[in-house]
């Protein structure tokens, strides 16, 4: 039995009572309802959270009282609980590890579980790769707790997008009829008593189920086992296929077969550190040659996009030899797989479970630009959000400069004494405040301690280019108007 982890609490004494490992998993003993109260932060009014909502999903019981769910289920959760479907017994839970890119999370009991897990049977973490036509089962419950099993047939493995834009992982596709039951956000998929994956989506028109497969789950759990989760690597390139003979001749590929053209290398990524450059043709990763579309022959899964070699097949830290062609010359590079975490981007691609960093001065609301801030404008955010912010998210390299960690911007002005006349200014980036260059929200906070002659001077990149705020008046607004009328309890959140 795997060591039971309580990294936050360190309560190793709370080993739960689980049934003998020899017993075969079954729906009523191996999957739990997971009830979630979600409450995203309000990015438009960053000092408060939105109205809470609820989600219900199913989790797969692992050894040590851990429960596996998709990250999407527990995103921005304020409260979590496990529920035994048959008995209705409940237990408050918390997140032990979450990876929003891979869309996986491990939950554990928040306090001593007593006999909650007694009689339950965890899934063993092993299994063989399925073959085309193999029977998988989707497990769920009727609302009264009766187990429901839907058989589906494994079709293929390929790379697919998770719920985050630009995040691609190995996924299974399977065919068959699955009837969704009430409150089944994500469903465990089982093969021969082993966890084969988590059902992500199901298209009832063509009866295709998309499954987050066990190889990714296993990589996630192995990584988390030591209590320090490293996450999946990010390659950091943009690329184009080289199917066009004109392009191949231009790239001096001669009689080389396959390969993809590197059309962009993101800073501080595995690719940048390996020395890959725009215009290189990537021919081989490890022992796998790439075809002109960027696919390779995977020994297990057949033809697969090369992304799996970076995210999934190998953990962070693995060194993979690369074969490339640069200006017609063959070269070898070493790709050491590394992760670029969301917080290390100039513009965070996502922010969950916490609100944005912000600072309020008199009524001017400053924040650090994240993609999540823009997405709060709704599905039409590209048209509805201030254009320059949208442009920055699509072209971050145009806003990068030495020392700049985040893009601090003026989100708007709450009407107050000190912001009179500034109501229409919004969506502008902050260049300098009181003469100090602003590289993140902490710089802003520091600069605002040094007003000159009682005035704060705020340089922005839009009309009117410079805003002046009366320091004493802003302090008064901060002390009275903002807490009393706008009910802003925290005037800044810098961490």
């Amino acid at each position: 039995m795997r060591h039971f982890l309580f990294p936050a609490l360190g309560l190793l004494a709370l080993m739960p009572q689980l049934a003998a490992a020899s017993e075969t998993p079954s729906p009523d003993k191996s999957i739990l309802r997971v009830n979630v109260s979600n409450q995203p932060h309000n990015f438009a009014l960053p000092w408060q959270k939105r109205q809470p909502g609820s989600k219900q999903g199913l989790g797969a019981l692992l050894d040590g009282g851990r429960v596996l769910v998709t990250a999407e289920l527990i995103q921005d959760s304020s409260y979590l609980e496990f529920e035994v479907a048959s008995s209705g017994k409940k237990l408050t839970a918390q997140v032990a590890t979450v990876d929003y890119e891979a869309n996986l999370a491990v939950l554990v009991p928040k306090e001593k579980p007593d006999d909650f897990f007694t009689g339950l049977v965890p899934f063993p973490m092993s299994g063989n790769p399925p073959q085309k036509g193999d029977r998988l089962e989707v497990w769920q419950f009727e609302s009264n707790g009766t187990p429901v099993t839907s058989p589906i047939a494994f079709e293929t493995a390929r790379l697919g997008r998770t719920f985050l834009e630009g995040s691609y992982f190995l996924q299974f596709e399977a065919n068959g009829a699955v009837n969704y039951r009430e409150g089944s956000f994500t469903l465990p998929v089982i093969r021969d008593g082993h966890l084969a994956g988590m059902l992500l989506s199901y298209n009832s028109n063509d009866q295709v189920a998309t499954i987050l497969p066990f190889p990714i789950i296993k990589a996630f759990l192995d990584d988390a086992a030591d209590g320090e989760y490293a996450g999946f690597a990010s390659f950091g390139i943009k690329f184009a296929p080289t199917l066009d003979e004109q392009l191949r001749t231009y790239l001096k590929l001669g009689d080389q077969k396959g390969g993809i053209m590197v059309t962009g290398v993101m800073p501080d990524t595995s690719a940048a550190r390996a020395g890959l450059k725009e215009g290189d043709v990537l021919l081989q990763i490890g022992e796998h040659t790439l075809d002109a579309r960027g696919n390779y022959q995977d020994p297990t899964w057949g033809l697969l996009a090369m992304g799996h070699l970076v995210k999934g097949a190998h953990p962070v830290g693995t060194a993979l030899p690369l074969k490339i062609s640069r200006d017609g010359q063959p070269m070898e590079l070493t790709l050491t797989l590394a992760r670029k975490a969301a917080r290390d981007f100039l513009i965070d691609p996502y922010v969950f479970d916490r609100g944005p960093r912000y600072l309020i001065l008199g009524g001017l609301v400053f924040s650090e630009l994240t993609r999540t801030y823009l997405e709060a404008f709704g599905n039409e955010w590209r048209d509805r959000a201030p254009f320059e912010l949208v442009y920055a998210v699509q072209n971050p390299e145009k806003f990068a400069r030495d020392g700049r960690k985040k893009l601090v911007f003026l989100a708007g002005a709450l009407p107050s004494q000190s912001t009179i006349g500034y109501e229409g200014v919004r969506g502008a980036f902050i260049e300098k405040v009181n003469g100090q260059v602003i590289n993140d929200i902490k710089d802003l906070s520091a600069a605002l301690t040094r007003p000159v002659d009682g005035l704060h001077t705020i340089e922005i990149d839009e009309v009117p280019y410079t805003l002046y705020i009366d320091a004493a008046l802003a302090a008064a607004d901060n002390q009275t108007l903002l807490p009393q009328r706008y009910r802003i309890t925290e005037l800044q959140k810098l961490e």
Binding site: Q246, R382, Q394, S418, G421, T457, V463, T466
Partner: protein, 504 residues
């Protein structure tokens, strides 16, 4: 609030489209002409005519094709011997104009003498002036009517074929966006008389005098009984401008101003707390005030009129937008400015110029779309017509469109070239997903306008033509020898009658 010069630049073109709709009636194919009959109505309104415009709509999707027939009807009125005033939008893109009198079944061919898209006015004449000889022109009043005074709108709106008269009062006089160009703003009178499609170009009368020209309504669901008319001073300016035989357009201070209402901002600029002055936030480097004003200056007076901190002045006993001073002047006129810089007052005089970079965001008329088709790649210059017809959403394209004037991107690329589509052929079959992006370079040469494109493509150097697009890492590589042959083949197959059209 940001105002620039005498035109108010709308940062978002959608806003204008939503806010106002021009009043062109759709063509009615089944029009039963009443037999000609004289009555008192006919005599009273003999100078008020119906204008039928057979127009063409240029095809930006297949720019080598001829334009599609379109058109509609509006109203016009006689203001002098063989001079008919109407709206520019009534007669835009026309191939044939017909004028009919009040109770006159005879079509009379007309032509455009002058057209001003920036203030939505046009002057027409009849090919044969005789039918209206002897008809009394309608006298124009070049002053503003009083609020709450009664007005009568006369014209040929939808809902019938014969002349229509509606009555209302002057509700408001203010600067408004003129939706015909989409980027200009002038004085307009809001009335509560029913003004409907087809009324456009018709006179709005007070007694026997014309106080305005009906031109647009309000299509938003939030307002009711709102119609707009072009007031006498704007009409008078148009007629004055064309006296020398050409229309010279409105001139512009070409600055962005910001109201100075924040006490801290006033203090930082060492300004007294007297509620006067507006901040100069941007000065267009090719415009009227270039080299004279600079960012951070405070405009205090314009032609001797003190400017309040919200950008308004006292003018003719009314509080009006300071741009009203510029509105009444012409290109080449001088204008006196008093400004505040570094704690001291200074005075200067500038010569008014027209600003053209803002036309990027304007609706354009009487224009044949420019294009180049090469190896199946269709290149077209960026303008509002192209952007809205093709619904271009690429961020770099929108960046150039939005900031072309405001950030003077026109200096970087005076006529951004867009690869709008690829006509599929063996030579370009792998060029997927590139339509709608902006051309950056061809064989290393930066493409700043359409003529750069043609010269770069014509240069016969090297084995390849390498085209790079802004925001796209993948170059488009064409084998030069094959591309020439492919061009001929593709143009034949797709019916591209001419490989290019560029304005001389």
């Amino acid at each position: 609030m940001v105002t620039r010069g005498n035109h108010h630049r709308m940062p978002s073109y959608r806003l204008v489209l939503l806010a106002a709709s021009v009043l062109l009636a759709p063509p009615s194919s089944l029009r039963a002409e009443a037999p000609a009959k004289t009555n008192s109505l006919g005599q009273q309104y003999a100078g008020i005519v119906r204008i039928e415009n057979a127009a063409i709509q240029p095809d930006y999707r297949t720019p080598w094709n001829g334009a599609r027939p379109a058109g509609g009807t509006g109203t016009g009125f006689l203001i002098g011997p063989n001079r008919f005033l109407t709206n520019a939008h009534v007669v835009s893109n026309s191939t044939r104009l017909i004028i009919r009198g009040v109770d006159d079944s005879t079509p009379h061919l007309a032509k455009i003498e002058f057209i001003a898209h920036d203030c939505d006015l046009a002057l027409l004449s009849l090919e044969d002036p005789r039918p209206f000889e002897g008809v009394a022109p309608l006298p124009l009043d070049d002053t503003l009517p009083l609020l709450d005074s009664e007005v009568v709108a006369v014209g040929y709106p939808v809902g019938g074929d014969r002349i229509s008269v509606t009555r209302g009062v002057v509700s408001r006089i203010d600067f408004r966006p003129y939706s015909h160009s989409g980027v200009d703003q002038h004085l307009a009178i809001q009335v509560d008389a029913a003004i409907n499609p087809g009324n456009s170009g018709g006179p709005v009368m007070q007694g026997s005098k014309v106080v305005g020209v009906a031109f647009q309504g309000y299509s938003g669901a939030v307002a009711q009984n709102v119609g707009y008319i072009i007031p006498g001073p704007v009409v008078a300016r148009f007629l004055e401008d064309i006296k020398d035989g050409t229309y010279d357009h409105y001139a512009d201070l070409a600055i962005a101003i910001f109201p100075l209402q924040n006490p801290a901002m006033r203090r930082a600029l060492s300004l007294p707390e007297n509620g006067m002055g507006v901040l100069v936030a941007h000065v267009d480097s090719g415009g009227t005030c270039a080299g004279v004003l600079q960012r951070g200056d405070v405009l205090l007076e314009i032609d001797g009129q003190p400017i309040a901190s919200d950008g308004f002045i006292e003018f003719g006993g009314e509080r009006v937008n300071m741009n009203e001073i510029v509105e009444r002047k012409f290109t080449g006129d001088r204008i006196k400015l008093t400004y505040w810089r570094a704690g001291a007052e200074a005075a200067t005089e500038v010569t008014l110029k027209r600003l053209t970079s803002y036309l990027m965001q304007a609706n354009l008329y009487e224009k044949r779309p420019e294009y180049v088709v090469f190896a199946g790649l269709v290149f077209q210059p960026l303008d509002r017509n192209l952007l809205s017809t093709l619904n271009l959403t690429d961020d770099n394209v929108r960046y150039f469109f939005n900031y072309f004037g405001p950030r003077e991107l026109s200096k970087e690329r005076s006529q951004p070239v867009i690869l709008t589509q690829v006509l599929p052929d063996a030579i370009n079959t792998h060029f997927d997903g590139v339509g709608g992006k902006m051309v950056d370079t061809i064989n290393g040469q930066k493409i700043t306008r359409m003529s750069d494109l043609t010269s770069a493509l014509e240069k016969a150097e090297g084995e390849f033509i390498k085209i790079t697009l802004v925001g796209e890492g993948r170059p488009l590589v064409l084998d030069r020898a094959r591309a020439a042959a492919a061009s001929t083949r593709i143009n034949t197959q797709y019916g591209v009658s001419e490989p290019s059209f560029l304005e001389p």
